[in-house]
């Protein structure tokens, strides 16, 4: 009998949907007799109980504090919960919030830690998890010898959000005292898209760092135009100012939500880029590196030079 603990999250009073994916991940290694508890810190934590009462959830722990993101508070709450309950497993989504608190919580607990986990299972009773390495070119199975507690952050968009319903026990927890070193001052929304609509585009041609130089960008804008595609890009292209941020596809950019055909040229296929496009049914990858991870999610692959392919392609449109 062990306790599994999921740390759910909210942003500005809205549940982070990746919390439901973390529940699914934890549920996958729940054994008979284990209990699954989900904790949420918010100004009105009771408001999340319904959404978190998914199948397999035995308890929701409501911690009434603030909607502001305060890593010090979350870490203190994890410490308090771990001290009282000795969970075998603590799971949270590998969203940007967890990047701030999960490693700090792990060292304070002296527990096992693996981040950006994409699969979990037991091998002969031992927890073994899978994550990627070397720019997604290999997979690594890791375990946690001698650790009573293991903290995992779960790659988003891999597990289905938990569904179904349960009637969990609801426990109210007084927020622990914590030395809060950060103050929320506000939000900054992304700059105006200037008419560029990645999320609405059905056909996207995206370019990555393989484009090499700013002066090479123009020919792909033209190619996209003649093919009737919207030009997208990976983050380094936007960071360099070669294309506006509104064209960036990925976790910190746009989701290619309506896209049916996505051609990625000179894009390696980092997890953050994939976040925005791996769901697209027809992905074509053009890359000089046959081992680039973009090929693992593509329907069609061309191992080749994006400039040669682009030049030839122009003759057909």
């Amino acid at each position: 009998m062990a306790e599994l603990l999921v740390i759910a999250g909210q942003r500005g009073g809205e549940l982070l949907m990746s919390s439901l994916e973390a529940i699914t991940a934890a549920r996958g290694v729940k054994q008979a007799g284990d209990t699954l508890a989900v904790a949420i810190i918010a100004a009105d934590p009771q408001a999340y109980v319904g959404a978190l009462s998914a199948e397999g959830v035995d308890e929701v722990i409501a911690i009434k504090a603030t909607d502001d993101f305060q890593p010090d508070l979350i870490e203190a709450a994890i410490m308090a919960l771990a001290g009282a309950r000795k969970p075998a497993l603590i799971v949270t989504a590998h969203g940007v919030d967890a990047w701030s608190f999960a490693p700090a919580a792990a060292v304070k607990l002296d527990c096992g830690l693996a981040t950006d986990v994409q699969a979990l299972r037991r091998e002969d009773g031992e927890l073994v998890v899978t994550r990627a390495g070397y720019a997604e070119k290999v997979l690594v199975d890791v375990d946690f010898p001698g650790k009573q507690t293991v903290l995992l952050t779960i790659r988003t968009n891999v597990f289905q959000p938990a569904s179904g319903s349960s009637a969990p026990k609801v426990t109210e927890m007084v927020p622990p005292t914590a030395d809060i070193a950060t103050t929320h001052e506000g939000w900054k929304s992304p700059a105006d898209a200037g008419g560029i609509d990645i999320s609405g585009a059905e056909f996207i041609l995206s370019i990555g760092r393989g484009v090499g130089d700013e002066s090479n960008v123009e020919q792909f804008l033209q190619l996209a135009g003649s093919m009737g595609a919207t030009l997208g890009c990976s983050r380094p292209i936007a960071d360099s100012g070669w294309l506006p941020k509104a064209r960036q596809v990925g976790q910190s950019g746009q989701l290619a939500a309506s896209c049916k055909l996505y051609i990625a040229m000179g894009v390696s296929g980092s997890v953050q880029h994939q976040w925005g496009m791996k769901h697209v049914e027809n992905i074509v990858a053009v890359n000089t590196d046959p081992e680039a991870s973009i090929f693992s999610i593509a329907r069609y692959g061309i191992v080749g030079d994006m400039f040669e392919i682009a030049e030839e392609l122009e003759n057909h449109f």
Partner: protein
């Protein structure tokens, strides 16, 4: 006033590679190594703060790694940082972000910097652990994925933006000293000048062992262990072969078919 910047030498795989006989890593002949991309931005941020203070700040680069890692350290020094510290011990061969953070915490205790930067993540394993684990060991204020920073050398607080999903950013103030993990795009990193590269060779670099830091091998145990490493199942990508002209012709066909043109 002192800023400490932790940098990592990351490994990229050659186009073809083989897994080592023990099945737990790639064989050492198949790597290219380089300074982590994120660390170009954190070094640059430290240099900007130093320059805004009229040079009245010391930028110390720290790295945990064997002799090989000297290249990454010198690359950072070539951009204008003042000096370096490299820590190595064979007991660190399987170090993860937690173990590295333990070592870095000792360096912070020795150096007493006013601010510590790390990269948001490493380009090879993408753990995003080291910086915030360091803050955990120190009990310092911390923020990850910092995409904008307003901090004057030695100030008691800083205002920063944390980059969230979907391009949204959160504005927050944080007490200093703090550990911040720096995101891509926060600035435009400079290239080292030829003069900088030459000077970097002369800059002082302390080489320390775990012993020097009063750490035992047991204290730098990682928080996880690699059981096995393997190449992922390659998806179902149908390869389009032939000359560039043939490949493009087939691609044009696919586009026209799927777009109903």
């Amino acid at each position: 006033m002192k800023i400490m910047v932790a940098v990592k030498q990351v490994a990229f795989l050659d186009d073809e590679f083989e897994i080592r006989d023990d099945g737990r890593d790639v064989g050492e002949d198949f790597f290219e190594k380089d300074l982590n991309e994120f660390d170009h931005f954190s070094v640059e941020q430290a240099m900007l703060i130093k320059e805004a203070a009229g040079g009245d700040a010391e930028v110390v680069i720290v790295i945990v790694g064997d002799e090989d890692a000297d290249d990454a350290l010198r690359t950072a020094l070539a951009k204008g940082a003042d000096r370096g510290i490299r820590v190595w011990d064979d007991a660190l061969a399987e170090a993860d972000g937690i173990a590295v953070a333990k070592v870095l915490a000792k360096l912070v205790e020795r150096e007493k910097p006013d601010m510590v930067f790390t990269g948001a993540q490493s380009a090879d394993f993408g753990s995003a652990v080291t910086g915030m684990a360091l803050a955990g060991f120190l009990g310092w204020p911390h923020a990850a994925v910092v995409s904008n920073l307003d901090y004057a050398s030695g100030a008691r607080t800083a205002t920063l933006r944390r980059e969230l999903e979907g391009g949204l950013e959160e504005i927050m103030t944080i007490r200093c000293p703090a550990v911040l993990s720096i995101q891509l795009g926060i600035n435009q990193p400079r290239y080292a000048s030829l003069r900088g590269i030459k000077q970097a060779k002369q800059k002082p670099v302390d080489e320390l062992s775990l012993d020097d830091l009063g750490l035992s091998a047991a204290e730098v145990a990682p928080a996880s262990r690699v059981r096995r490493m393997y190449a992922p199942e390659r998806g179902k990508a149908e390869l389009i072969t032939g000359s560039a002209a043939e490949q493009a012709a087939r691609l044009a066909e696919i586009i026209k078919e799927l777009r109903g043109m």
